[in-house]
């Protein structure tokens, strides 16, 4: 058992791939960051290939795929956020693609970046920044501040607390789900090495991974639409 736990801990740890020093500060580049670069490269490359020489008529299959992906994904996000938040759709779609790919990249032998708490913290931080920025942008500083004493001033502390709890829940939900799925998968692999892991992998890596990406974007868009209404 000791061997198993040690192995697990090793798998769970996000190692520092390399580090460099800038102005006397040692900067660590972790595995999650490197895998993120790979994800970015894949996403950008695939999009560039799909959207190469777009036409209005007689579209190629490539273009049809690109249009299908873009319209489906943006349509999905638009449905969540409503017509008023249209300008936040591209960012949310990007996050959807990134988290979706991060959660499923374990299938290709990479360590999922979302298994690193720092990554989910960054994502949640970006989300809450976007939510508050959207609120300020759409309602003005006064309107944004007024939102804290709605519907009655008594709830102001709770509303203030939400600034912290919302990103915290976003970050922990994503991290917990991916980590939990990973741990369960590892345990299943140790107990039954054949067939069963493949079945559970479909659920934990693909279904749960994409579901968590959806949930993360769904909640963020919910917060945004709430902030801008």
């Amino acid at each position: 058992m000791g061997g198993i736990s040690k192995e697990l801990m090793e798998e769970l740890n996000c190692e520092t791939v390399f580090s460099f020093t800038v102005a006397g500060i040692k900067v660590n580049v972790s595995e999650a960051v490197v895998v993120t670069w790979i994800i970015m490269a894949v996403l950008i490359l695939v999009s560039a290939i799909l959207t190469a020489n777009l036409k209005v008529h007689n579209i190629s299959k490539r273009q049809a795929v690109a249009e299908l992906i873009v319209t489906k994904l943006t349509g999905m996000v638009e449905n969540m956020i409503g017509p008023k938040g249209k300008k936040y759709v591209p960012y949310l779609t990007t996050v959807l693609l990134y988290i979706g790919l991060s959660n499923t990249i374990g299938l290709f032998g990479f360590k999922a970046p979302t298994k690193d708490l720092s990554v989910t913290i960054a994502l949640a931080f970006m989300s809450i920044m976007l939510v508050e920025a959207a609120g300020i942008y759409e309602r003005g500083i006064k309107g944004w501040l007024h939102k804290f004493i709605e519907p009655i001033p008594v709830v102001a502390p709770i509303n203030l607390l939400e600034i912290v709890t919302r990103p915290l829940s976003l970050c922990m939900r994503l991290f917990g789900n991916v980590l939990g799925a990973f741990v369960i998968m590892e345990l299943i692999k140790i107990v039954v090495p054949v067939i069963l892991p493949a079945v559970f992998s479909c659920y934990f890596d693909i279904f749960d991974g994409l579901l968590q990406a959806y949930v993360f974007v769904f909640l963020t868009s919910l917060y945004i639409s709430e902030a801008i209404e």
Binding site: A32, V33, P90, L117, S118, A122, L123
Partner: protein, 161 residues
């Protein structure tokens, strides 16, 4: 596992922003632009079709109107023709009637004349016959002087009558 690294957080935030901008440039913007262009084209085509439809309807109305005008014209011409034909007919009938009357009058006049002639002829004949008969009778009894006097007397008598 649970260690939080500031460098990772910052790197991920930068990566996210870069990914967002890149995807916006290579994926969302171009595709959306193409879709918008297509939509615009479809709309313009739709508008064009509607305009054409209106035009066609106008043409149809115009055509129908001209058709109706032509029909009216035709009717009018037909009525005119019928009227003039009637007039002509009446004229011909009148002429014929007049002609007939004239012919009848002429015929009557001629018949009258003929009658007169025949009557005169008959008178002459009768006078001759009377003279003949008288001469025959007179010749048997007296001379030829008496004959002449008698004849004149008869003539006078006949002329009086």
């Amino acid at each position: 596992m649970l260690s939080i690294e500031a460098s990772t957080i910052i790197f991920i935030i930068i990566n996210l922003l870069v990914l967002f901008i890149a995807l916006r440039l290579v994926l969302f913007k171009p595709v959306q632009r193409i879709i918008e262009q297509r939509q615009k084209e479809a709309e313009s085509q739709f508008r064009e079709a509607e305009e054409k439809l209106v035009e066609a309807n106008d043409l149809k109305a115009q055509y129908e109107k001209s058709l109706k005008d032509a029909e009216d014209e035709q009717k009018k011409a037909l009525a005119e023709a019928r009227r003039s034909a009637d007039e002509e007919y009446q004229k011909i009938i009148d002429n014929a009637k007049k002609e007939a009357t004239k012919v009848k009058q002429e015929a009557t006049a001629k018949a009258e004349e003929e009658k007169e002639k025949i009557l005169k002829g008959a008178e002459q004949e009768i006078a001759d016959m009377v003279v003949d008969a008288a001469r025959k009778i007179m010749a048997d009894r007296k001379g030829s002087e008496v004959d002449g006097a008698l004849y004149n007397k008869f003539l006078e008598k006949a002329g009086d009558e």
